[in-house]
Amino acid sequence: MSALPAREAVSAVATLSARELTHRYSPRRGLDPVSFDLAGPGVTAVTGPNGSGKSTLLRIVAGLLRPSGGSCVLACEGRELPARARRPAIGLAAPDLSFYEEFTVGENLSFAAEARGLDDPRGRVRESLERVGLLARAADRADALSSGMRQRLRLAFALLHQPPVLLLDEPGSHLDDDGRVMVARLVGEHAERGLVLIATNEEREKTLAGHAIQLRGRGVGDPA
């Protein structure tokens, strides 16, 4: 990966450091050792070939996956957050994020807001749906959404609690041009006050980032 100079940490909302961070999906290696220092606010792209570990890296940062080796330290407002305490600080939109199909769009987000203990859950749901252009579909069941609409719902879910760290795994997938413009706007807004990591190989999404972490994993087909 490319070594990144950390921004001034004094005013940073969030900092993220990795040292020789690695993960194995036995027996296959999911993430080759990677080290970096990031400090928000700002946007960083995580790039690399298929199978190089972009999604794995984001899941480790989110605290969903325990790394096989190395360390990953996330701190918000100067306070280090262990993996189990990262939920309030992390917003994740990833392709494997699914919703309850028997619930409406609004009900899915209301449940998430209530489980997160947010004040004014209805207001939060309305605001996040408005931001991704999905407010008109709030009463639709989740299983009635197109793939593009589902992607917008994932983004609304990630933004719901206004987290200081936003992890976007292929945020533009399935989106039309308007949707991609919306992603660029959301990333720009969030980057003013938080840390954004975008796992992508899309040129348009790479340009949103001020920095890049280039994963040089073995990629598809290499069993090592």
Binding site: R59, A62, L64, L65, R66, C76, R84, R87, P88, A89, I90, L92, A94, D96, L97, S98, F99, Y100, E101, E102, F103, E107, F111, A112, E114, A115, R116, G117, L118, D119, R124, F157, H161, Q162, P163, P164
Partner: protein, 224 residues
């Protein structure tokens, strides 16, 4: 980060409501559990008739019907999250302990509804001596807590395994045997007018031990 309320109790409550709403919409577990209970009791009544003098058989029959009617649905609350790919969403909004406690609460409610239908039907169709209601309800209540705690724990443990069908039977049997033994003996004892203090203590202690072990284990579940 936005303002949040004290989140643990709120998350448990949100998950309990979500489970109830999901069950109400899909009737996934309740219909099949009730169908099993009604079919079994009707068949027994049709073939054997009333067997009021055999309290040992009656007690065993009641708990076998309750356990088998409830078990698949109780353990399936976690499997549904895995098969519906909603586990990632759930893990992002609540701690493993809150998730498990919410599901335990739902399982207790589920058992309550099942028993409210099955027990009167059992007494009408299969018969039995007059119940000592206070002692019977004590056995039923403690047995239900132990059964729900056992099924929730087993469901949580097997949910992410590949051979969960086979594993469910293998893990459930030793965990459920003490519940069945205590509940059947206690139910028979209340019918016979025998002291059931030992059975109540067994069920209570076993339920407490299962809940205690669960609270310790739940935070380490689903660590990939």
């Amino acid at each position: 980060m936005p303002a949040t309320r004290s989140s643990s109790a709120g998350a448990v409550w949100a998950i309990l409501r979500k489970e109830c709403r999901s069950e109400w919409r899909t009737r996934y577990g309740l219909n099949s559990a009730l169908l099993f209970a009604v079919t079994t009791l009707t068949s027994i009544s049709f073939v054997v008739g009333k067997i009021a003098d055999r309290t040992d058989i009656l007690a065993a029959l009641l708990w076998i019907v309750l356990v088998f009617a409830a078990l698949a649905s109780l353990a399936h609350t976690f499997v549904r999250e895995v098969e519906g790919h909603t586990m990632t969403m759930l893990r992002l909004v609540a701690s493993p302990t809150a998730i498990a406690l919410g599901k335990l609460g739902f399982n207790l409610l589920f058992l309550g509804v099942l028993e409210a239908v099955t027990v009167p039907l059992f007494l009408v169709l299969v018969g039995g001596p007059p119940l000592h209601w206070d002692r019977f309800l004590a056995v039923l209540g403690l047995g239900s807590v132990a059964l729900a705690a056992a099924a929730t724990l087993v469901g949580a443990v097997i949910a992410q395994t590949r051979g969960r069908g086979a594993l469910f039977a293998a893990v459930s049997l030793p965990i459920l045997l003490p519940v069945l033994a205590g509940a059947v003996s206690g139910t028979r004892g209340q019918w016979n007018g025998a002291p059931i203090g030992a059975e109540l203590r067994l069920l209570g202690a076993y339920a407490a031990a299962l809940l205690g072990a669960s609270l310790i284990l739940y935070d380490h579940l689903w660590e990939e």
